[in-house]
Amino acid sequence: MAECIPTMDWILDFYNYRVVAQYLPEFGRGIVSTMGISLVALVLSLVIGTLSALMSLSARAVLRNIAGGYISVIRSTPLLIQIYLIYFALPALPLLDRRLTELEGGIIALGLNAGAFMSEIIRAGIVSIERGQIEGAMSVGMTYLQRMRHIILPQAIARVVPPLLGQSAVLIKDSSLVSFIGVFELFGAGLTVLNERLMPNEAFLTVAAGYLAIYFLMSVFSSYAQRKLGGAYA
């Protein structure tokens, strides 16, 4: 029957959805893995980014220089090389007695990379807080940590939520690069189909659709977050 309908043939030739259906669990695992990797790396990058932003605003030149150097190095070298260097270099450090798994290496590299960009965003947020707030917090006797924790950081981060979300979207896309050191995620699922079936269309159009789905979810979430925070802080 199928040969009566030439358009069907053409579609199957270009994009064989039966093969895609067969590999659907693979793609599903890939999406879950990509989101998991991105989430852990995101948390890591926010921690690193906040620390580095505080260091770059410190009164001590040493701390400022360390943060500045970290940001410059990360921003001036490709993520791919950072992944290679961290994956191969960290196990050589004496404090680790075992080899990092690919997954750990990939997440650390992604976190360090995004941390530099997050740092600049968070820094801009902190700088935007009015001087009076800091003085007010100081005058009621808050210590540096209390000020940061209760007064400055909550407002600073709320102000820069849109760029932070934008950088998170970049992080999700960048996570595809950890497939280079053999971590399985959405792009890796595409590579599996390419290698097992030699079907690049089915492999990469589906992968692209997966990333677009994540991107769409992100943008829905992002406009929701902006509405919420916009009411509270803007």
């Binding site: 001036s76 993520l79 260097l85 792009f187």
Partner: protein, 222 residues
Amino acid sequence: MFDVIRSTMPFLVQGLWITIQISFIVIVIGSLIGFAVGMVRAEKIPVLSLVLGGYIHVLRGTPFLVHLYVVYFLLPATKVSWLQFEAFTGAIIALSLYTSTYVAEIVRAAIEAVPRGQTEAARSVGMTKLQCLRHIVLPQAVKMMIPPMGGIYVIIIKGTSIVSVIGIAELVRAGEHAAQRHPSFLLVIYGLVALMYFLYCYPILRLTRWAESKLGKVDVSL
């Protein structure tokens, strides 16, 4: 160790040269496409503007690695004769499209940042739309585009590292070859590769920051 550095250096420098060439070609082509797309989007030309908005969202929503594989594997598989290109052309096309989305957003943001009153004033003294664009809006917008373009250029340079995966003999690829030849010096070799990217990118970032302080900053979400 110094023997290894001395013997691999020529290959790495050759790789860097190819990285420089690719990034240069791509920033030119990508900027041209991006400029056109950004102008259309800023001028809100009915249907076209919507279509190009979709183009930007799709490219923004997917990793460059996916663009590269789609351009490299999928387009030649369509059996259309002019889509039968080799790896180098494929890399240039994928990178240029990727660049164009960034440039388009910058161009649009810069044009929209020129105050509306200026356009209205120009139109009211009898300038046509094109004259207004040519003499009033663009001269101011282009000035605002310069600093973020530096940032884009650095993103592109770093992006070229990914095309090593389809066999382009650029800097990362050269590093991988060298690392295969001297596996015990892998860290040194990748360190050198990182250093070369740093030497290429860092001055541009500094220049960008300087230009920002001179010309002001436009708010573009990258």
